[in-house]
C-alpha cells in the first residue's frame, strides 16, 4: 500500500491542498463586472419552517429512503420530508400508523421510546411513546455544519447566506457575477 502515498517531503503540502480542494469554494471574482453564468442558486427554507415538526396521519409512501427497526415498529424515511411509523408486529400485514413530518430529514435511530432524527442543521430527540402523537423532547441546534455549498463540483454558485434560512436544495439559474465556486 505504501507506494500509494506521496513521498514524505510532499505530505506536508497534501493536507492544505486537500483542505483547499474540499473547502476552497469561496473565490472572489470581482475583476469582470456583470458577467452572467449558468450556475446554482440556493433555495431556502426559513428556520421556523424547518423547525416545525408535526405528527400527521398515515401518508402515501413516495420515495422510501433508509429503514430502521425497533421492537415491532418499522421506521421508513421519506428523504427530506420525515418518517413513516409502521406497526410491523406481523410482517405479513404491516400497518402505517402515522407520519412524522421532519423537514430535511434523512437519518434516524431509536433508544427506548426516543427517536433521534436529523432536522437540517439540528439534531432532535422525539418522544414516540404514542406514535400517533410524537412530541419534541430536545433540540440540539447547529449539530451539523451549515450546508454552504452544493454537492456538485466544478460549478459557479450564489453563496449561501445563513441569515436567509437553511438551504434545502440548489436550483439551476442564470447568475450575475457569482462569487462562489466549487
Amino acid at each position: 500500500m505504501k507506494h500509494l502515498f506521496p513521498p514524505l517531503c510532499l505530505r506536508r503540502f497534501l493536507s492544505p491542498l486537500l483542505l483547499l480542494a474540499v473547502f476552497g469554494c469561496e473565490i472572489n471574482r470581482e475583476s469582470d463586472p456583470d458577467r452572467t453564468f449558468q450556475g446554482l442558486r440556493p433555495v431556502y427554507a426559513t428556520y421556523e419552517e424547518i423547525r416545525t415538526i408535526q405528527t400527521l396521519g398515515p401518508q402515501p409512501l413516495k420515495n422510501p429512503g433508509k429503514i430502521y427497526v425497533k421492537g415491532s415498529y418499522l421506521f421508513i424515511n421519506e428523504p427530506g420530508k420525515g418518517i413513516h411509523i409502521v406497526d410491523n408486529s406481523d410482517p405479513a400485514t404491516p400497518k402505517k400508523l402515522a407520519f412524522v413530518s421532519v423537514p430535511a430529514n434523512v437519518d434516524m435511530a431509536v433508544k427506548e421510546n426516543v427517536l433521534y432524527v436529523d432536522n437540517a442543521v439540528d439534531l432532535v430527540a422525539l418522544d414516540i411513546t404514542d406514535p400517533r402523537k410524537v412530541t419534541v423532547l430536545k433540540r440540539i441546534k447547529d449539530a451539523y455544519p451549515y450546508p454552504s455549498y452544493p454537492q456538485q463540483r466544478g460549478v459557479q454558485f450564489e453563496c449561501a447566506n445563513p441569515e436567509k434560512g437553511v438551504v434545502v436544495r440548489w436550483e439551476t439559474a442564470q447568475l450575475t457575477n457569482p462569487k462562489c465556486y466549487r
Partner: protein, 252 residues
C-alpha cells in the same frame, strides 16, 4: 489494586462486546428497551448509552444515558466523504469514500481508531459478523468513478484488516448478513443473495432481478428491503429461499 480494576474493566468490555455481538449475530431486535437496528446505509447508530452520528467529515458522539436528554460529548475528525456507520462487537465500522475506519469503543465517549482499511475512492457501506466485514464499493454521482464490487475483509485481528475475497458487482448499495446468508442490494439490478458459510469463498445463491433495492435489514428470519418500488418483506430460512410476506408499495 490497579490490576484488579483493569481486570474489571476488561471484563466489562468483554461483556458489553458479547451482548452487542449477540444482538447482531442473530440480527434480532431487542423488544424490551435498548436500541433498534438500522440498515447498512445508516449514519446514526446507538450503542449502549451513546448515540454516534457521522456527517461528511467527522464522527459526533452524544451521551444518551438519559434517552430523552441527549448531550453532545466529543467529535472525531475522519478525513472526508464519511458515508455510513455500523456498530458491532464494541466497535464502530465507518464507511468512507476512501476506506473503512474501525474505531474501538473501550472508552465509548471517545472512540479511538483501531485501523483504517484503505481502498480506491468509492462509496462504501459496511456490515460485519464473526471474523469478517463485508464492504460494497459503488460508483455513482457523488462517488466519481470507483469500481463496483463486494469485498470481504478478515477482521479477526481488528488492528490489521486483510482482504480475503473480492466479487464484481453491478451497482451495489446496502447489504446485510444473518447467519450464513448475505444479502447485497444491487440498486436497479436487483437483490443478490450469497451463501456466506465460508466468507472466503462466497457462493452466489440467487439474484432477484425484480427486487430493486437500496438497503436491507435481515431481522429474525424476515428480510426488510427498501427500494424504489416500496418496502418488501420476505421470510428466509435455512432452505435459502425468499418468500414474499408483504409489500408497502410506492403510491403516486
Amino acid at each position: 489494586m490497579k490490576n484488579y480494576l483493569l481486570f474489571i474493566l476488561i471484563g466489562l468490555t468483554a461483556l458489553a462486546g458479547c451482548s452487542e455481538m449477540g444482538s447482531k449475530d442473530s440480527a434480532s431486535v431487542n423488544p424490551n428497551g435498548g436500541s433498534g437496528t438500522g440498515g447498512s446505509m445508516a449514519r446514526f447508530a446507538v450503542a449502549g448509552n451513546f448515540l454516534y452520528v457521522v456527517n461528511q467529515h467527522s464522527l459526533q458522539v452524544y451521551d444518551v444515558q438519559k434517552s430523552a436528554d441527549p448531550n453532545s460529548l466529543s467529535k472525531v475528525s475522519l478525513g472526508f466523504g464519511v458515508e455510513t456507520i455500523f456498530p458491532y462487537n464494541n466497535h464502530l465500522f465507518i464507511g468512507t469514500q476512501t476506506g473503512m475506519y474501525i474505531m474501538n469503543l473501550e472508552n465509548p465517549a471517545k472512540p479511538q481508531q483501531t485501523a483504517l482499511y484503505r481502498h480506491i475512492f468509492s462509496c462504501d457501506p459496511v456490515v460485519a459478523q464473526g471474523n469478517y466485514a463485508y464492504v460494497t464499493l459503488r460508483s455513482g454521482t457523488s462517488c466519481n468513478t470507483g469500481p463496483n464490487r463486494l469485498e470481504v475483509v478478515d477482521i479477526s485481528n481488528l488492528a490489521n484488516p486483510v482482504q480475503v475475497n473480492e466479487i464484481s458487482m453491478i451497482n451495489p448499495h446496502g447489504l446485510g448478513i444473518d447467519g450464513n446468508l448475505l444479502f447485497v442490494c444491487e440498486g436497479d439490478a436487483g437483490l443478490k443473495v450469497f451463501d456466506a458459510s465460508d466468507p472466503v469463498k462466497l457462493k452466489p445463491i440467487k439474484t432477484f432481478e425484480d427486487i430493486r433495492s437500496y438497503d436491507v435489514i435481515p431481522n429474525r428470519s424476515v428480510l426488510i428491503v427498501t427500494g424504489k418500488d416500496g418496502i418488501f418483506q420476505y421470510r428466509y430460512d435455512a432452505s435459502q429461499q425468499l418468500t414474499l410476506l408483504s409489500t408497502l408499495p410506492v403510491e403516486n
